[in-house]
Symmetry: C2
């Protein structure tokens, strides 16, 4: 955990997110709800595109991975089997002096509320004994409280995949090695959520569990490490801001034989984006034991029976979105001024093009509207006629829109339009009839 | 509420859903979790496609609607303002004889557990007094129970839109009339969930709230009624199975000036798919009062200030998916046998094509694999070489796949393939180079 405070870049991104409709504080008119955020009009499109890009690469383009969407509420015994009821805890202490509450293992990086220049480990306040606090949200299902079942909001999507493994195997006619992929919400009652949408209590995961024959797990682990770091590259994230972090012996989770994190260099330090884990047969064996169902795989070629090993790739969707924003954010010095530009990959940018009439007369708005309506059948575009065209360009730069299409007087004569590139600011003139193909080639 | 039991069709659909990987019982290996379901490999694709079809029609193709994705956990005062804490209740009674628990307003349609041939209203068991039971799931947020905040899992996505209205208005530069659309999970602790995925405790909504000037609300209400029923038509649902149901004076919710349901004729009777409501200024006025924030709209042309009226279109995503399955399901008598076929619209079908080598030799698998790999860059397709080609066709009929592409000996000579249409079973021979364009034209 880095002690560095978020520098100015994070504040600027938080501010841009609100101004342009990427991310809002949840329940803001009621003073906000700590650690929950809402995605605005551009944020929801960016998130959709990130998820779609993951799904395309992890499911659609592969023969041996299928999708799943399991429910958030699951049978409570699943969390006993997984170890979450007993072990998904944080150690907590209270300070008897300032009444603050802290993670016992982070006293050296937690600021004392009474002495903001000191950490809790140095401020001299007397601390209570350590208590174990379970991070799962608990609720009651069923008609009245006394007869209801205690259920949990899932703290990870992975268990939904494991318990569906027999049904997916049977219905999809897959054979080992194969994977099950899922995107969905998970909930953790974190004591210290922080860094904007990096660590939230409600968040979304993109997880894939790959079922393999024991003995081939190391090979597949290496394969998925490479595949996953390449994915961030294809997403447009700069290579120099990505690295692997290998979990040492003491960091490894109880279920893992090997673990690597993909980390990104955020303004607040290197932090985990995704974990690639060799979970061995821990999970399926636990569920086999607790459910008393046979979860062995039968290989009809070798006639062998075994509990598969699992290699997991577990990414945070909101973190990936934050990574895209941070990596894309730039303040560019121009000859006469500075422009803020979000250099998002065109494939994930919320709006693919801004469509502008140069001026609000002479038929330009009508032609620009027509072009907008045609493009809207195929992609997200935005019509804008308000203000000088230069200001309209800058608004789209800040929103991350890769192209701006302008209708001018020449357009009315020969049906051509100018297309301005967000990154180079270079304009080229093309025939309006070829516009859809031009954009598709660059944004899909 | 119809007394009719689900007929055979529902059982057949439930069975097909499990067999083909559309829908599984949640937590099945642990005996299941009442009223929760998981979407399998085909179900998750169908759901994605239904949501994408809604988003395209409600957001992408419109100038005056933008998207939102607000969190499930929101500030608890929102549910006081909305009326849910006080009024989102069902009346409950217990039977002192059989210990069963029932909705007091549905005794005439609830079966007595001790006397399955009788309804609770006639079985003679003595009932307790009526108790009011709130349908919201409650949980605790924050580090320890004594100091935590009670929060609810949202019972509808609409309130997330209302409280974000000022931020969306400002960041999107929209003017009234305009709408905010959202797809997301909602949770209701129903006493009597039933009919497979029709009424679940965890479900997904597709809601759009349209903000208008008071006095224009009736006109917009009529507009949205028409738009929404047309959408089901474009989704491929048979017209004769859709109808409007107008809420009478006694049925109207406290917030509504007018309400129509879009209903579908399920095997278990006509049931609501979507509600179109004129919610007046009820919601924004309540949030204005409770948050003390000014939620008035300022019209910069007329210089008027007013609290907008809201016309809502609120659809159930899981219900729509069930509708697609029910409407598409058919057992077709052929000359020698019967085939089960899901006549899903190609636009929402999970798999767009099955790709088969006629036999597993002579280079046919290699060519079929190559075609599969090429198509997988653009759409979901499935390679299958197992069993007679006739059986492979039937498996894809049952999965709802609109096209099957077969590579035969002629393919190796002249690069043509046969394309079989699911509905007509007619095959035509086309050049493999034109296959992508052929399919795109029919499935996009």
């Amino acid at each position: 955990m880095s002690k560095k405070k978020p520098d100015n870049t994070m504040n600027k991104i938080v501010s841009l997110c609100k101004r342009r409709g990427y991310v809002f504080q949840s329940s803001e008119i009621y003073g906000g709800l700590d650690s929950c955020y809402d995605y605005g009009p551009l944020g929801v499109e960016l998130k959709k595109n990130v998820k779609e890009f993951w799904w395309k690469h992890m499911v659609q383009m592969r023969d041996n991975i299928v999708g799943l969407d399991s429910s958030i509420l699951m049978h409570p015994r699943i969390w006993e089997a997984s170890g979450h009821v007993a072990g998904f805890v944080d150690p907590l202490v209270d300070c008897k002096t300032c009444k603050g509450r802290f993670r016992a293992d982070q006293l050296e990086s937690s600021v004392c509320p009474n002495k903001p220049s000191k950490m809790v480990s140095e401020c001299g306040g007397e601390l209570t004994d350590v208590r174990q606090f379970n991070l799962m949200f608990k609720t009651q299902m069923g008609p009245v409280e006394e007869g209801a079942t205690a259920v949990y909001l899932r703290p990870e999507t992975a268990q939904g995949i494991y318990v569906n493994y027999p049904n997916v195997l049977q219905s999809s006619r897959q054979k080992i090695p194969f994977g099950i992929a899922q995107i969905g919400k998970a909930f953790r009652n974190e004591i210290t959520p922080k860094n904007f949408i990096f660590r939230m209590r409600e968040f979304e995961q993109m997880e894939m569990q790959f079922f393999v024959k024991p003995g081939t797990d190391t090979e597949w682990f290496e394969y998925w490490k490479e595949q996953r770091i390449n994915w961030y590259d294809e997403l447009g994230i700069r290579k120099e801001n990505l690295r692997f972090h290998q979990h040492g012996e003491t960091e490894l989770a109880h279920y893992a034989a090997a673990a690597f994190d993909v980390e990104y260099k955020f303004p607040f330090g290197w932090q985990e984006l995704e974990g690639i884990h060799n979970r061995t047969d821990f999970d399926l064996k636990r569920h086999q034991e607790c459910s008393t169902k046979d979860l062995q795989y039968f290989d009809d070629v070798t006639r062998e029976k075994f509990v598969p090993y699992i290699v997991e790739t577990s990414a945070g969707c909101d973190r990936t979105l934050l990574t895209c924003l941070v990596d894309a954010y730039e303040e560019e010095e121009l000859e006469k001024d500075t422009r803020t530009v979000l250099r998002l990959s065109p494939r994930i940018a919320p709006l693919k093009a801004g469509i502008f009439p140069l001026v609000k007369r002479d038929g330009m708005p009508e032609l620009a509207r027509k072009i907008t309506d045609d493009l809207k059948q195929h992609m997200m575009v935005f019509y804008d006629e308000a203000g000088a065209v230069g200001r309209r360009y800058r608004r789209q730069d800040e929103a991350g829109t890769p192209f701006c299409v302008t209708v001018d007087s020449e357009s009315l004569e020969n049906n051509t339009v100018t297309v301005r590139d967000r990154d180079t600011m270079v304009q080229e003139r093309i025939n309006a009839d070829g516009l859809l193909a031009y954009l598709r080639e660059r944004v899909e």
